[in-house]
Amino acid sequence: MNHIAKNPEMNRRSFVVSAAAAGGGLALGFELPLGPSAAEAAETGPEVSAWVVIRPDETVVIRIARSEMGQGTLTGLAQLFAEELECDWSKVTYEFPTPGQNVARKRVWGDFFTAGSQGIRSSNELVRKAGAAARLMLIEAAANEWKVPAAECTAAAGTITHTASGRKVTFGKVAAAAGKLEPPAEIKLKDPKDWKVIGQGKKRLDTPVKVTGEAVYGIDIRLPDMVYAAIKACPVVGGTVKSFEAAKIAGRNGVKKVVQVDKDAVAVVADSWWRAKTALDALPIVWDEGENAKVSSASIASWLKEGLDADQALVGNKTGDAKAALAGAAKKVEAVYGYPYQHPVTLEPQNATARYTADKCEVWASTQNGEAALATVSEASGLPIPQCEVYKTFLGGGFGRRSTSHDYVRQAVLIAKEMPGTPVKLLWSREEDMTHGWYHPVTQCKMTAGFDADKNLTALHIRISGQSILATVMPARLQEGRDPATFSGLYPGGPEAAIGYGVPNILVDHSMRNPHIHPGFWRGVNINQNAIYLESFMDEMAKEMGVDALEFRRKLMANHPKHLAVLNAAAEKGGWGTPAPQGVFRGLAQHMGFGSYVAACAEVSVTGNKVKIHRIVGATDPGYAVNPAQIERQIAGSFVYGLTGLFYGGCTVKDGRIEQENFDTYDMMRISQMPKVESIVMPSAGGIWGGVGEPTICVAAPAVLNAITAATGKRYRTFPLRDHGLSIA
């Protein structure tokens, strides 16, 4: 039996990938949805365990709980599993198990949460052990058949061998028997030095379907008799629907229903999305915008500015006595920075398809957290979890937007509840998506440094003022009121996000101020703000002291060898200390986040208001590099994400609402602006599995900012640079 998606499109996807992976050529041009034969092709084959189906044709179907949104986790996790399974990599394909099945099977696949660069970090051991368990069961099944001790048998490349007799059998022949055995009690994982699949730049398993249009994203779901919904929520978060005139759009072609969704939104359901959307545009809606309509970017900025000098603040790092040391410093350096709201902009706008009946509610959606989506379905439908299900698709970008807030899932279910039995695909317009996001939170930062008479940095006070993500999104995760994410990369130590500089007296504290705009886990989260503040200020201090920016940092990094190693690597490959081409200037940055150490060395030239970014070297130490080829792609992509944010990524608030509604006012880097990226992947092992989907983003902006200052003498402290008239050449 099969425990995966019941959606015919999902089966189709599995089938196509299997065909491609097995060298069976391409399946193109078939009708949608597929008939039962292809669906069966995806479903035949016995489970060895919940994690893996091995078909008689030797295809190995590995079940991947985490979401694939471009970061390559799907392939990386499959590599981890395949390493221990000892299968033939060319036979590997995959399926996404459903959150409902995870609940029903006592969470056998662990957590579905795919954010915070956690995909491989937090599940690598579980996945490797599951792969090893399946291998042991396959071996035991073969040994039973041969009536020999399992210890005399080995597995490699999908074949089990009885060493003494030379007998061999393939996985596919014993998979059914293996599936009936008890899982082994004791599992010993391979020594990393014996890895053959982990550490290899294997091709992504999902590429073939992504070049033919066959990959299925949430937006692509098609079900029999499906209808389409477009929605508008109050443009001011916290506001509500006062009234709407459904009669004004009655009789329009294809329009089926007008539905109020919760207190704050109105949806139109039609027989195509375009008809729903145009009818919604024609629907008169009156909003009660409430008190939040008085808020503007200026009012938020002045509120945050007060926080920079507020007496009370939440302490994230206190080493020594920074305030006293600053009072006695021979010289002080101070700078204030500000960072705007930014929208994550998944290119696939938020959407979900829901089908509700009195005893079942099913949702198909792009989500970074299938189980959270499932909980949302249960809550919105009023049905208990065993009567709910979520079928995950590929994500057209996640970037944190689809990790904690499933507002789009809730809305889809509420609309579907109004039309029992009819599947409803809710799709947000880009304008709805841009103005109802979960934004990279706004913060300001005051940096104060104290030096002794010998130019030694003796004290550093980092005061952050601004919005907490957790206070809104996961208040239960606050620690005595503190939001630990706020201090990312500024902690005194630990394997996650430690500051890379040794200063005798450090104080990092946070004056929390939470405007009504929703904050979210924008890709990289607070290391982005914090790295800009700290690494810009490092250069500012070095300049004040008349010391080279690299030397200034190195002097503070004696006890931070991993931070230093990536910085040195980026600086060396970047040519730091050697002459740059005429008119080209360099900038450096380093930081730690999500268990990984990252650094960058950027080369820019500035002509008028145009910044040409010629080249960036990115170095990363993620502990273990499961797929170095994909890590290089994450590094290159991270620079695009971070630099788009630096130059263009500012959402402003007017009358309580986000002003930027589409890409004409919220620009993004294009291929012509792409610098040459050179990556250094330098895993140092040591038991720490760092992330790769996010960390590098945070060094993109400060490395380029420092290079711009080197080129122009000007220091920019508020962002995006668009506001200073700068753009990327």
Binding site: E348, G396, A636, M674
Partner: protein, 150 residues
């Protein structure tokens, strides 16, 4: 009824003439490889070929598409043989999330029809599609790889 020819196949569809071609392709005809990103011809996720020309279908009324040859990502491969851009994309593992890549590939395929061996400057000028994952470096390599023997 509007007559559309998509990937060589004729369709009679009942939509308003000002409906963007994108929604006719996705919702009415059911080919979902062509994506919606912005609706204002900024991002290029919806790029298809109209009589061989790369066209942002989100801002192209279906009435103007009538009678023309429309090719979507599903129709790019011929006789089950992938287009050279698709092949290069697989060889270099270009896509990440992949959502923009249908449009990206269609834009590149149209460029190569005009310029079989484009320079970097040609690429910069012609390819303005947005990729949020930032695959631009691989896209550029992929274009050069696809045209290496041109």
């Amino acid at each position: 009824m509007i007559k559309l020819t998509i990937n060589g196949k004729a369709h009679d569809i009942d939509v308003e003439p000002d409906t963007p071609l994108l929604w006719a392709i996705r919702d009415t005809i059911g080919l979902t490889g062509t994506k919606y990103g912005c609706g204002i011809a900024q991002c290029g996720a919806c790029t298809v070929h109209v009589d061989g020309v790369a066209t942002r279908s989100c801002s192209f009324p279906v009435s103007e598409a009538a009678g023309k040859q429309i090719t979507t990502i599903e129709g790019l491969a011929q006789n089950n043989v992938l287009h050279k851009v698709q092949k290069a994309w697989i060889d270099l593992d270009v896509p990440q999330c992949g959502y923009c890549q249908s449009g990206m590939i269609m834009a590149v395929a149209a460029l190569l029809k005009e310029k079989p061996k484009p320079s970097d400057a040609d690429i910069d000028k012609a390819i303005t599609n947005i990729c949020r994952c930032g695959t631009y470096q691989q896209v550029r390599e992929g274009i050069h790889a696809a045209t290496a023997n041109a």
